[in-house]
């Protein structure tokens, strides 16, 4: 019993230490952000590998999620004779919740894990160390551009996801199930608000992008320099990011829509 409490204490302390390290790491990265402006080319390459290479999975998933929403929404709404409200249901679910959350989860799996693995490998093969010895600061040269790239790419990806999802809902709802095309969009526009819905979704996706990239880059930086270390760090990135996304989503939703 006492052992169990002691081990709980030990793991809490360890978690606290890791969090502290992650926080210090973040501060160092933030202090190095000037490089992003001074050498934007570095960030462009990272936006390519983080953002552009996630496009396909985001577009395909967005389309399918939108199509399923169209289907499920129709089946439910048609019972109330309110099939015309389909557009609103699809748009609100996508813009407020599914767009930012599903995009962030996919982003953690696709780009976050790749970032962790890349940085873990650079650490294991002493590339980071070598850079330091060449008087090149890895926080500036390596971490900061990746951080900014992830942070910038997420909201764009989430917007693309939602937009494609709306079209997916249209394909199923209007194309296959016969909802009126005009009703689909007019319902959508009457219930979806730019400030309250779209912008809150964008803010969510910015927060998720920040957190996922932070976790991914830190896990790579903090990985044990062995092959198991890298694989464990990669898994950790996906697990911790997913939990953080879902937890933060609950908090943000409460803050944004709860009190109103």
């Amino acid at each position: 019993m006492i052992d169990a409490i002691a081990s709980l204490g030990r793991s809490s302390l360890n978690a606290l230490v890791v969090f502290g390290r992650a926080f210090l790491f973040l501060l160092q990265v933030l202090a190095s952000l000037d490089i992003v402006i001074r050498r934007f080319g570095l960030t462009v390459v990272q936006i390519y590998s983080v953002g552009v290479r996630s496009l396909l999975i985001i577009i395909v998933s967005g389309l399918f999620v939108g199509m399923v929403l169209g289907y499920q929404g129709y089946i439910t709404l048609v019972n109330f004779g309110a099939a015309e409200a389909l557009g609103g249901v699809v748009a609100l679910s996508l813009v407020r919740e599914l767009g930012p959350v599903v995009t962030a989860l996919l982003f953690a799996g696709r780009a976050g894990s790749a970032l962790t693995a890349e940085l873990g490998l650079m650490k294991t093969t002493e590339q980071l160390s070598a850079m330091e010895m060449m008087a090149v600061n890895p926080y500036r040269r390596i971490f900061a551009p990746r951080f900014v790239a992830g942070f910038l790419s997420m909201p764009l990806l989430a917007a693309i996801f939602s937009a494609v999802g709306v079209m997916g809902g249209y394909i199923v709802g209007v194309g296959m199930l016969g909802v009126d095309s005009g009703a689909y969009f007019s319902q959508m526009q009457s219930v979806t608000d730019w400030n309250e819905d779209v912008l809150s979704g964008v803010i969510k996706s910015i927060v998720f992008g920040f957190v996922v990239t932070w976790i991914a880059v830190f896990q790579g930086f903090n990985a044990m320099p062995t092959s198991e270390g890298i694989s464990r760090a990669t898994t950790q990135t996906v697990v911790v990011s997913s939990l953080a996304i879902l937890g933060l989503d609950f908090i943000l939703t409460g803050l944004m829509f709860g009190a109103g």
Binding site: M122, E126, Q127, A130, E132, M133, R141
Partner: protein
């Protein structure tokens, strides 16, 4: 800038260095001098902290006690900017080569130049080809680091380490895991680089034959201290017990075969006792 340093003063001075990693004491009381313009090898058994020593000299680790001066500047006390300025005049060759895997051979050698200078592209190209020619890999410039053999990777890393024309170059285990031909090439390269560029070379190694052949000066370390130092021939001639064991590679001697711990018998009995609980 650092105050002017006399030509014949040691390039690196280490005094009473103490360093521990967790509970393990790596250096207890290490002192040594590394002369300017010569090849110095720090030798010691595996696990004696040779790589750690290079990282301490390069300022990547901070000592727990004692001091390290490079070119008259105390490394641990430098500001980040000064430390980076100092590192520009140091080259370091990692055991794995530590080439940047997302860049070609050419770009790897160009990397420090691109980061620290604003040279026009054609000058940069000439410089890089010059460095690659020096290690005999000018024609391998478009290869990917992943497709290089261990020896080739180390030669590219050497070209990269001398790209900024440093006055100190450190080699971490440059002979480990190479076939005899490649080993010969690396030995020649280290020697030639040292002579033609007039720089100070510091090697850490446990390959006695090559290290003794290449060095002007050898420091033996064990148990966190420098146990012996001098020119290779002197060392061999006056070999103390420990040096003799190390240099001739005897399995047992002052350095015991067994990792220190409880006696074998007590250990076995102890295990049985615990099982009875």
């Amino acid at each position: 800038m650092a105050e002017p340093v006399a030509e014949d003063s040691p390039h690196i001075v280490i005094e009473n260095l103490r360093f521990r990693r967790g509970r393990k004491v790596v250096f207890e009381d290490l002192s040594m001098r590394i002369p300017r313009g010569q090849v110095t090898t720090v030798m010691g058994p595996s696990g004696s902290g040779k790589t750690t020593l290079l990282r301490l000299i390069g300022g990547q680790l901070r000592p727990d006690g004692g001091r390290i001066w490079v070119d008259g500047q105390e490394v641990a006390r430098l500001s980040t900017r000064r430390l980076y300025a100092l590192r520009k005049r140091m080259g370091m060759l990692f055991q794995s080569g530590a080439l940047l895997t997302d860049l070609s051979v050419f770009e790897n050698v160009a990397f420090p130049l691109r980061e620290h200078t604003d040279l026009p592209e054609d000058v940069l190209r000439t410089l890089v080809l010059l460095k690659l020619e020096a290690v005999g890999l000018r024609s391998a410039r478009d290869l990917d680091p992943a497709s290089l053999s261990g020896g080739m990777a180390r030669r590219v890393a050497l070209a990269r380490a001398i790209a900024l024309d440093p006055d100190l170059i450190m080699y971490d285990e440059p002979f480990t895991g190479l076939d005899p031909i490649t080993m010969g090439q690396i030995v020649t390269l280290i020697r030639r680089t040292n002579q033609s560029l007039g720089l100070t070379s510091v090697l850490v190694s446990h390959d006695v034959t090559e290290a003794m052949a290449i060095s002007d000066h050898v420091v033996l370390i064990a148990d966190g201290r420098a146990v012996d130092a001098g020119a290779p021939d002197d060392l061999r001639a006056r070999a103390s017990d420990w040096s003799a064991q190390f240099l001739e590679g005897r399995p047992d001697g002052p350095v015991p075969f067994h990792y220190p711990g409880d006696g074998y018998r007590e250990d076995l009995l102890g295990v049985r006792e615990r099982r009875d609980d």
